[in-house]
Amino acid sequence: PPPEWDWRSKGAVTKVKDQGMCGSCWAFSVTGNVEGQWFLKRGALLSLSEQELLDCDKVDKACLGGLPSNAYSAIKILGGLETEDDYSYRGHLQTCNFSAEKAKVYINDSVELSKNEQKLAAWLAKKGPVSVAINAFGMQFYRHGISHPLRPLCSPWLIDHAVLLVGFGNRSAVPFWAIKNSWGTDWGEEGYYYLHRGSGACGVNTMASSAVVN
């Protein structure tokens, strides 16, 4: 991979969103990934609807949680994603109100990515932002800087949060992943979280995935 990469400076990342008091991080992680894939394949950056996934992805559990792999599958079955404007976020489960005519974006498939962080960085730099799941240890009080908790405290076996890798690099020789979170811009570094790269910190490499747009 190149020494550093940041999809935010290349226009592939929408603004930081806020899931509110709802465990819908999985939906934000997936829409962030699909927004990036669509941008890279079609050149248009569209802010996509998480509420559609909350309401219409019957495999996942809306505010009680979900899995990116199920969400990709739901998007394929539904026939695509509407935009945030057309199907805006409410932060709680509603009746499914999806309309295929309004869908602006579709996906063809989804893939699991390598657990090797070097390969993951190379893939990200070439193919776009990546949906990942991590152990959110310490994030309740995270303010800024590169987080690198002790492994036993941030076990890769206790994954409980889904986010989006948008880039990577080094800050004073400390390697990091730049992570887009969905807790609003008044958390972390304007909504972003920086996690140590190369040590499997907090399980960041265990559930990396992406949609495929042909």
Binding site: Q19, M21, C22, G23, C25, W26, K61, L64, G65, G66, L67, P68, S69, N70, Y72, S73, D109, S110, V111, E112, L113, S114, K119, A122, W123, K126, K127, A133, A136, F137, G138, Q140, F141, Y142, R143, H144, G145, I146, S147, H148, P149, L150, L153, W157, L158, I159, D160, H161, A162, S172, V174, W183, G184, D186, W187, G188, Y194, H196, M207, S210
Partner: protein
């Protein structure tokens, strides 16, 4: 702590040292925030002490500020001549990041009791215009605190077994949190409960900080009045570790492509 032996009965204040000027200037900057250039108070003298904990330092400062004369009727109803203020500031410095935890200012009668003390003694008993002595003002909630939304909470603190300065300091930080994140609590009980959650979360954040091997800073965030359980339940997604999810094909690595 003052490096001169404490004089019996008097609060020995260390004379201003270069180390105090940094936090003092920070406090003055906050004090002057929003003021036009000609209307800013100037720092005349500062003394105080510093306490170190973990990677931070807590400065308790006594600063004498001089307010410029005011003749602009849009700013002050009546012309005011130059005024001297005595302020007590608490500045938390964590790895070069300053935080103003407390600010108490009041006009001062500049008679310094024990006048004639040699300047070098660094000892002074300065009485605030409002008559109570400096030390108690450092730990009394700022009088105008009582007028703000938080007043229902302050009396509760006296019932706590917490030591006085801890609870007052924590009140100040919690008050800033409530203001910064626009928190409102239904009842005094709720406010009391949230304050205790906040205080224990401050301790948790410090432990996480101490155990982090990166460059991250942990501290007060918008989630600081939530218990760990509440935070997990509301914002996190335990399904991720519980369910395998749909099988997806493994992407070709870039080199393969």
């Amino acid at each position: 702590a003052p490096n001169k032996p404490r004089a019996a009965g008097a609060q020995a204040w260390e004379l201003a040292s270069p180390e105090l000027l940094g936090p003092a200037r920070f406090a003055l900057e906050i004090y002057n925030r929003g003021r036009a250039a000609g209307a800013r108070a100037a720092l005349k003298a500062v003394s105080g002490r510093v306490r170190r904990a973990g990677q931070g330092s807590l400065y308790s400062l006594k600063a004498t500020l001089v307010e410029p004369p005011c003749n602009d009727p849009t700013v002050c109803q009546l012309p005011v001549s130059k005024e001297t203020l005595l302020c007590s500031f608490e500045v938390l410095d964590e790895l070069g990041k300053h935080m103003l935890l407390r600010r108490d200012c009041g006009p001062v009668d500049t008679k310094i009791t024990g006048a004639g003390q040699p300047r070098g003694a660094g000892m002074a008993q300065i009485r605030l215009h409002s008559g109570f002595n400096l030390d108690s003002s450092l730990f009394q909630p700022n009088p105008d605190d009582r007028n703000d939304t938080f007043s229902s909470f302050l009396p509760l603190l006296n019932k706590d077994p917490l030591p006085q300065d801890f609870s007052v300091k924590m009140t100040s930080i919690f008050k800033d949190f409530v203001t910064a994140y626009n928190r409102t609590y239904e009842t005094e009980e709720e406010a009391r409960w949230r304050m205790s959650v906040f205080a224990s979360n401050m301790v948790r954040a410090q432990k996480i900080q101490a155990l982090d091997r990166g460059t991250a800073q942990y501290g007060v965030t918008k989630f600081s009045d939530l218990t760990e359980e509440e935070f997990r339940t509301i914002y996190l997604n335990p399904l991720l570790k519980e369910e395998p999810g749909q099988k997806m094909p493994l992407a070709k690595s870039i080199s393969d492509l």
